[in-house]
Symmetry: C2
Subunit: 437 residues, 2 copies
């Protein structure tokens, strides 16, 4: 006996049509594999342009509507899938669906980031679940695994490469030796970057995902204002070359970490990753998350972070979870699961660092630099001064300092002092974190 | 309102005590995280040596029994965890538990491999589930993900490194340049290999896991006799060096693949993996599975393949799944989900290959070798003859042939012909598959 679920699908773009196609092709296989007999029918599709939607072979006219309220007021619709994106209409729709006690499945990262707290409260008040596997890291099932297979672990840290656009650009700069602007242009031509790539390259897209992951890991909402975020838009080719020379890859890393005192650290920055780390093997537009659990040790999840079918596959995963949760007859929410928690200010977060200085090449500069840093109680694990063989008498030289683990604020302050004290330091230092993974 | 589940735990060795410790430490956190209020109580523990078990601070005398039937006939016991290992007592216990309609959670790979078909049938007949996440790849949640997050995908292939002992030995041979015997001894000293390492190093441990994964992926049971299995016990250091030179890592790979005609290919062999593949980064005793799904593309799962807490963590994952499945009031089995399927004979499986020959170094040998292979319709993509600079006039030389994709049986037959036709080939060729991952 199959249980029939009627679905209202909002949005029939790339991902929406992908969901319809997967359900049409795999319905019976899914049911056989998970050994639960259910039938998911898309009975209503909300679109802006009905003529365009009708070009799709799976769509017929009776399914289509341009009025979002049709998904809410039609009592035959059991669940709502929201794939229209943005935070205005999507917010209105999801709120109305939860109030009408229709479970919601969404792939909308912006919506969850911006209205998560409100929507989860509404979800709880109405005992109606909201799922969002597709909102974070596309095809990587990190949400489902955090809630299921990782749930008995105290998570010490999660280190993620969760913006494929940035990962592609950095890789191209490193491998193909092209500039940031060239790599960005290439990413745009290949469809890996938006026409306006700001949110990707400034680190905020990754940070929105990190915030969602952090909430699910530690159970409370975090104010985005507390987060230290840097993008890749100021990365220079020379740092990629130097990182390589020193045995590192340069990646945009989002870090979520529980400190010994229980406070949570969240940050997104271009960071150096040892070549020996599995994270260093994440190339192209792939995403990955390295999870350090107290029982499991390192677990690593890797897959496509975007794209029609990887994302649609995650929506279908949520449909399955929704079916199973509903079958218990009990509401099962996500958040919050602890009252509140502390977030560490960016200045107090610790790591080791790569610092690149541009200095006037004079006798005694290295001594002045290292003495100034020593006075500020900054300890170095190594230095590296590449020499340009074709120009041994260059006026300026590059000096890379590898800095032992210390607070970020302390390093920044020491570097400010350095710039004041040592006039041979001609530019603001480039500071990149080194991740010990 | 917490639902209380009483558990009978069979076996209190490394993993069993780990499960008890995780439940004692994390019970309330798990319930908060998954937002389902339940309490798991270990009310009875089956041991051989009660005095030894009593040394553990979580154990009290009233819990202990040395009679397995106490777990079955005690009506207050809801579920049974089987961690005694082996296939005699474990089989009797699991069978009795299913017949008594007590859900079973086991970490026993041998049991599932050997008696899977019978136990799954019994499970279905009694509408009582059996779970086994801990039986495959320790802390990697591959079973749960195959049944949930990957279930809408048609799986094209799974490429696994699923024996940590072999992976450690091969890595040490490659990195530390030690012999197979030395590396095995080291693995034994570190507790990574058993005193009798046969099942690990001959490839059968990995194959048992691959068979379970294949069943869950394609839905039918496979006769182990149909599988092509080679271990690492005959691997020579020279092949690790040559693989490295050619840009490959040498790993023990288990491959599960659906061919275009729908037939399933399963095999375990030492294989060459391109350095650029993420599988090449899997070092030490870690396990990993690269899953190629029709919608998700490449998904990669990586983690500890053995050990007390990673394995115990997987047992706890199954306890959570069991709770959720039970809450629906409906039985949810695993297998089979298709009536039957075809398995490809080893001789008909295809890949590209690395073939190493030892030949007498005479003029014209390369021509004879390549002509003989050409006559057998074997096509080469490259050759490599390393030269020993200290001995340019050596009597014997090594010749590596990289063979284009062809059937394994065809290559073997061609190499037999080669050995008959070309007397300068002095030893049986070493044949390793090259995996295109």
């Amino acid at each position: 006996m199959s249980k029939v679920i009627n679905i209202g699908l909002a949005g029939f773009g790339t991902v929406g049509s992908g969901v319809a196609e997967i359900l049409a092709e795999q319905q019976s296989m899914i049911s056989a594999k998970i050994q639960q007999p259910f039938e998911l029918n898309i009975v209503k599709i909300l679109v802006r342009d009905t003529a365009k939607a009708l070009q799709h072979p799976l769509v017929n006219e009776s399914q289509l509507t341009t009025n979002w309220e049709d998904l809410i007021h039609d009592d035959s619709i059991d669940w709502v899938i929201e794939l229209i994106g943005g935070t205005t209409h999507a917010y209105t729709l999801v709120k109305a669906a939860l109030e009408a006690k229709k479970p919601v499945i969404t792939g909308n990262k912006a919506l969850i980031s911006e209205y998560g707290a409100e929507l989860f409260a509404l979800s709880k008040a109405n005992q109606t679940p909201i799922y969002f596997e597709a909102a974070v890291a596309g095809g990587i099932p990190i949400i489902t695994n955090l809630r299921q297979t990782l749930s008995c672990n105290e998570i010490k840290s999660i280190t993620g490469i969760i913006n494929g656009t940035c990962n592609y650009i950095l890789e191209q700069m490193s491998v193909a030796k092209i500039s940031y602007d060239q790599a960005l242009k290439q990413a745009q031509e290949l469809g890996y970057a938006e026409a306006d790539p700001t949110l990707d390259v400034n680190g905020w897209d990754a940070t929105h995902k990190a915030l969602i992951i952090s909430c699910l890991t530690y159970g409370f909402y975090v104010d985005p204002k507390l987060i230290h975020v840097e993008g890749i838009d100021t990365i220079q080719a020379t740092d990629l070359v130097l990182a390589e020379t020193l045995g590192y890859s340069l990646k945009l890393i989002s870090k979520i970490k529980k400190q010994d005192n229980g406070a949570i650290e969240i940050r997104t920055q271009p960071s150096l990753i040892p070549k020996s780390s599995i994270l260093s093997s994440v190339n192209g537009v792939f995403n990955a998350l390295l999870v350090d659990g107290n029982y499991l040790g390192d677990s690593f999840f890797y897959g496509q972070g975007a794209g029609k079918f990887p994302t649609a596959s995650s929506v279908v995963t949520d449909l399955i979870t929704c079916y199973q949760d509903q079958a218990t007859g009990e509401f099962r929410g996500f958040l919050p699961f602890v009252e509140s928690g502390e977030v560490v200010a960016a200045e107090l977060t610790k790591s080791s660092y790569y610092v690149r200085l541009n200095v006037i090449d004079q006798a005694g500069v290295m001594a002045k630099v290292t003495q100034s840093l020593a006075n500020s109680d900054i300890s170095l694990s190594g230095t590296h001064s590449p020499i340009d063989p074709s120009n041994p008498d260059a006026e300026f030289t590059t000096m890379v300092l590898l800095v032992h683990t210390c607070e970020y604020g302390k390093l920044k302050s020491a570097l400010n002092t350095l710039q004041t004290e040592v006039k041979e330091v001609t530019q603001a230092p480039v500071v990149l974190r080194i991740e010990d993974v």
